[in-house]
């Protein structure tokens, strides 16, 4: 019969129409901003710099190795390496970024910087409400705007942050043990011209992968 197919289709539409009033599954509209979808852990928006402790400037993990700057596909990261060294969270003297800017208007949230970072210093944020009145300066984030605490990282990506912390703690324990061993050996030698402990410690504490020259 001509028109049978159309009627069949209309029956389907009617079923969906009625269903949308009774089935909770079909009521999918979320009244943003009053309502919000529960955050998804893997979500990524724009990068931020992780710091340990209370002071962002002192606790910043970034050592300005510039790997992320070189690997960034749209080239939105600008780093100026410091001339002097200052102690990081573990107390070892390291370079630090004198300037670390990310142009959020260029960034494409690809997470490559996070993957290539050997120091777990840069991670992805989930903040997406980033409207600014200034299109150019306002979307260029400097160090201070990018710095967020490790607690914040734990809040947005709990599983990943716990893994990272465990890895870092393991590395620290290893380097501490090595440093201790080196110090003991140095003490055992009891030589007057023992190697300066700082440099041994420094070399031992370098995380794996840091030697790679991009």
């Amino acid at each position: 019969m001509l028109g049978e197919g159309i009627l069949k289709g209309l029956a389907e539409t009617a079923k969906n129409f009625v269903g949308s009033f009774v089935s909770a599954e079909r009521l999918t509209t979320v009244q943003y901003p009053e309502q919000r979808i529960a955050p998804i852990e893997a979500t990524r928006d724009f990068p931020f710099l992780v710091y340990d402790g209370a002071d962002w400037e002192a606790g910043m993990r970034c050592v300005a190795c510039q790997i992320c700057e070189k690997e960034c596909p749209p080239k939105c990261i600008y780093i100026v390496k410091s001339i002097d060294k200052k102690p990081d969270a573990l107390g070892k003297p390291q370079f630090y970024p004198a300037r670390f800017d990310i142009d959020i208007s260029v960034c494409m949230s690809c997470q490559i910087c996070v993957e290539v970072c050997p120091f777990e210093a840069i991670k992805m944020d989930t903040e997406f409400e980033l409207s600014r009145t200034d299109r150019f300066g306002g979307l260029l984030f400097d160090r201070e705007e990018l710095a967020k605490s490790n607690e914040h990282y734990h809040k947005i990506h709990p599983t990943e942050a716990a893994q990272v912390d465990a890895r870092l703690a393991g590395e620290k324990a290893k380097s501490d043990a090595k440093a201790k061993g080196a110090a003991l050996a140095a003490a055992a030698k009891a030589a007057a011209a023992a190697k300066p402990a700082v440099s041994t410690e420094n070399a031992a504490a370098k995380p794996e992968g840091a030697e790679i020259k991009p």
Binding site: L2, G3, E4, G5, I6, K8, G9, A11, E12, T13, N16, T28, I40, A42, T43, R44, I67, K70, E71, C72, P73, M108, S109, C110, Q111, I112, E115, V116, P118, M124, G209, I212, K213, P214
Partner: protein
């Protein structure tokens, strides 16, 4: 159009006239003046910015020339200036409806270039994500085709409802709905949790219901049949000669599915069939996509049942300091739109010396003029819709 159902054209190529693979030349009736119409670049039916310069005799199409490049950003040149890994997020932006198959094709080409092994679990994850991508691409492609026929909304919204569930899965696993950037050379970036696999199983369980719904809604609809059957016929010999691939080629009755032919990844472990068209028209292309969704669901069910435990990244895979040895490789996969290939030449440096994308969307448009000539101008929109292109991939 005389139609033989067997593909026997190959032997007779020698006896054919030299220009058999050129578009047919037809004359306007009488001495009527031709009307030149530019369809696009900003036209709701063009899936983006794309122009067709059409010459019309009344309603009949006499000539049609596609015009590309409005979305051109020289993806290949950009890729030559950044590292191998750096191109991975850019591949998401080629065919932005199917980012994961783009990732896969690129990863496959680099793995061919370096001989990198991929762990079993990663291969299964790739199959699962690739087939989910195929389902959501075909669903939205069907929805858009019906939308272009004039059925504003309903089938497209049904398709997008299903697509939304799949994109939610993508977001949960990869962190992004569309710009996934998930595959790596030698595996996948993160492992799927048991919770994610359970959620995927639940979504896959619901998919057969969706294909049946679409079938009840559309397949026997008289208006759809009247508009699409016998429209935009593509001969199989021309389809092969013009490099048409994917559902378009199979709708023309040519049994060529790279998942079967190359058996890349772990595809030779799954039991699925390749649907083929019989009438080579727009309706066949619509039906092939629907049937392919069903086969994809079959593959998904098998893959979700068999997925082994283990690592998702090969232990030898390198993220930093990745420099393949000099050489070249061409890797291809069956993306939802057709053969997506990547051709890479390495000179031993950190960046590819030459990086080429073989875009299925662009190649499938080669025969647009052949299919449209002699048809009504209203059908051009349908024929174009049945090719299923994404301009991000056409223009690169």
């Amino acid at each position: 159009m005389t139609a033989t159902h067997k593909l026997v054209a190959f032997e007779s190529d020698k006896t054919r006239p030299d220009d058999w693979n050129r578009p047919q030349v037809i004359e306007p009736d009488g001495d009527a003046e031709l009307l030149e119409v530019a369809m696009g670049p900003h036209h709701p039916s063009t899936h983006g910015v794309f122009r067709m310069d059409v010459a019309l005799d009344g309603e009949r199409v006499i000539r049609l020339k596609p015009v590309f490049g409005y979305l051109h950003r020289n993806h290949e040149k950009i890729a030559e200036g950044i590292s191998y890994l750096g191109s991975m997020p850019f591949t998401d932006r080629l065919d932005y409806v199917c980012p994961l198959t783009n990732n896969w094709a690129y990863a496959l080409a680099v793995e061919k270039l370096t001989g990198q092994a991929v762990p079993e679990r990663a291969e299964y994850l790739r199959v699962i994500l690739g087939e989910l991508t195929r389902v959501q691409n075909h669903a939205s492609s069907i929805g858009f085709l019906i939308q272009e026929m004039g059925a504003s909304g309903t089938p497209l919204m049904y398709a997008f409802r299903e697509r939304e569930k799949i994109l939610d899965l993508f977001e949960e696993l990869t962190g992004a709905r569309m710009m996934c950037n998930y595959m790596r050379f030698g595996g996948c970036r993160v492992d799927a949790t048991a919770g994610w696999l359970a959620a995927t199983r639940k979504v896959v369980e619901g998919l057969p219901g969706f294909t049946e719904e679409i079938e009840r809604l559309l397949c026997s609809n008289e208006i759809l049949m009247a508009r699409t059957q016998g429209v935009g016929i593509l001969r199989p010999d021309l389809a092969v000669n013009a490099g048409v691939t994917g559902p378009m080629l199979r709708a023309s009755g040519v049994n060529y599915d790279i998942r079967k032919v190359d058996g890349y990844g772990v595809y030779n472990r799954f039991n699925f069939r390749v649907p083929l068209g019989d009438h080579w028209d727009v309706y066949d292309r619509f039906m092939i996509r629907l049937l392919e969704m069903r086969e994809s669901i079959k593959i998904l069910e098998q893959a979700l049942k068999d997925i082994p435990a283990g690592p998702v990244m090969d232990s030898k895979a390198k993220i930093r300091g990745f420099r393949p040895k000099p050489g070249e490789a061409y890797g291809r996969i069956e993306s939802p739109k057709g053969e997506l290939g990547f051709y890479l030449i390495s000179d031993g440096g950190p960046n590819p010396y030459r990086y080429r994308v073989r875009p299925p969307s662009l190649m499938n448009l080669t025969v647009l003029e052949d299919m449209a000539i002699g048809q009504n101008v209203a059908d051009v929109v349908l024929i174009f819709g049945s090719v299923d292109i994404v301009l991000g991939e056409v223009d690169r």
